[in-house]
Amino acid sequence: MTALTVAGLTLREASRRRVVWALLAMTVVLLALSAWGFSKLIGLDTELGTMTSGEARLVASLLLNLILFGMSLIAAIGTAFLAGPTLAGEVDSGQALALLARPVRRSAVLFGKWLGLIAFGGGYVVIAGLAQLLVVRVVVGYWPPAPATGLALLAAETIVLLTLALLLSSVVSTMASGIVAVGLFGATWVAGVVGGIGAALGNEGVAQVGTVSRIILPTDGLWRGAMNAFQDPTALAQMGPGQGGFPFLSASALTPAYLAWAPVWIAVVWGLTALSFSRRDV
């Protein structure tokens, strides 16, 4: 009951603050630019002549993943900076005082905030991602093999990041929590790329970097699963061996073990946040 009230409040806050409208404007610009870019792609004359359909699909896959990466970055930054103020900001400003003096459990308030944020962040990623897939379909006729899985994994990536941002905002200040969350997100992505290069070069030590970082923070792992669901299955084969390190193609789908790890990670980080928030003096 309390959680639903707070979730509704969080969604109302998002809709009444400029962040949503800024996000919407950025998304529309991104969609329009991508539609324009993809339309140029069709008639692209390379030095070797017009692209074959296979090449066009490869390039479409690559570009789609690139654009969706941009979109997940927008969602990540948007939710991280929305999640930050929600705990630390409300405690700092004194808004939390009157609210927490009501007959509510702090964990219920936190759960409500989290629900509101994942509804917002996850909803944004799914809707904007779907719009992007439709744009690509209309313009170049490419439709990914597993769009639902891909969008769900993108949403999961967003949830992981905002859960992290919530934890950080319960222990450090408002701005710092957003910056640290986005920084970790970027660092994990870079570590994933480094790991991919290591794997492509057959260097196990370097490949481990990506694997370990994906376990510590599952954003990059989920992102790679999403890419795998969006890309043309033949694209990787066309790129040929030795290109495994390319950051906008993913060699394989996620393993069930990894898919199970992500919710466990979320639950553990959420639990830590609840513990820290319930002990905090406001």
């Binding site: 806050e13 009501r102 002990r279």
Partner: protein
Amino acid sequence: MTSDAAALDGLPPSPAVWCSGLRKRYGRQTAVDDVSFTVARGEVLGLLGPNGAGKTSVIKMLLGLVRPDAGEVLLLGRRSTDPRSRSAVGYLPELFRYQPWLTAAEVLALHVKLARVDVDASEQRDCLALVGLADRAGDRVGGFSKGMQQRLGLAVALVARPELVVLDEPTSALDPLGRVDVRDLVLALKARGVAVLLNSHLIGEVERVCDRVVILDKGKVAASGTLAELLGQREVRLRLAAVDGRAEDRLRASGSMTRSGDWFTVQLAADDDGVTVPDLVNDLVGLGVRVHAVEPVRISLEERLLAVLRHEEPAPQEAAR
């Protein structure tokens, strides 16, 4: 309402606030040290003390916002660790901030929902009208002045039909008219049998509305008691001539005496039955003293507070209940 419940149970209702042995340290700084007091149902208790005395920390510990290092709190008969203890508690924080993207009416609706009390929209509007915000109900809080936000905070504290209202510096942002409004509100709550815990720097306000006062200093209870107990100690000033040793002994027999020139000040006992002064004057005249003036001196709460904080005299200490 509470008296009905009490009649049913055949038991007196538990106090609105009961706290015992509250302690809180922030790092090496002891903010609150062994604070115990009680607020009875329907009683208005004033919390006084200088800045940094620990008043706000005590209030936050009562409401479960700050975890005490030691001590226990019961609110309306329930342990404060149980969120339900705050079901019938209204709170205006010292740092009052409400969601700037909501309207005043929406803030009240949110708090009614969180308190799980069935208060309909017209009653919520009445509550806004009570604090003078009736015509701003549909405006966003972000555009409110500080004074209006504090008025909104009062409405939030009052909206969910509380049995205990905790007001932390409720007039800090209000103009003199607003202060009078708050005083009237507190008196109206008292008339309805709602207990009020009032933390205020405005001693005049406290003196007007409070039944009892707890004075905190450096995190400890420096003095506490009813206003009559705290202010009951009265003095009488006499201008005398031809005072000899016997006359001075007679003066000391009535209470501790100080002399400044031909002015003599005698502190009277709190339970003085009104015959001490006439008897004293009678005896002094009998001893040949010429009595020029006899003036009763009333001690204000402010003077009492300053005396307690400056350790100028032993404070009447009420045993912790």
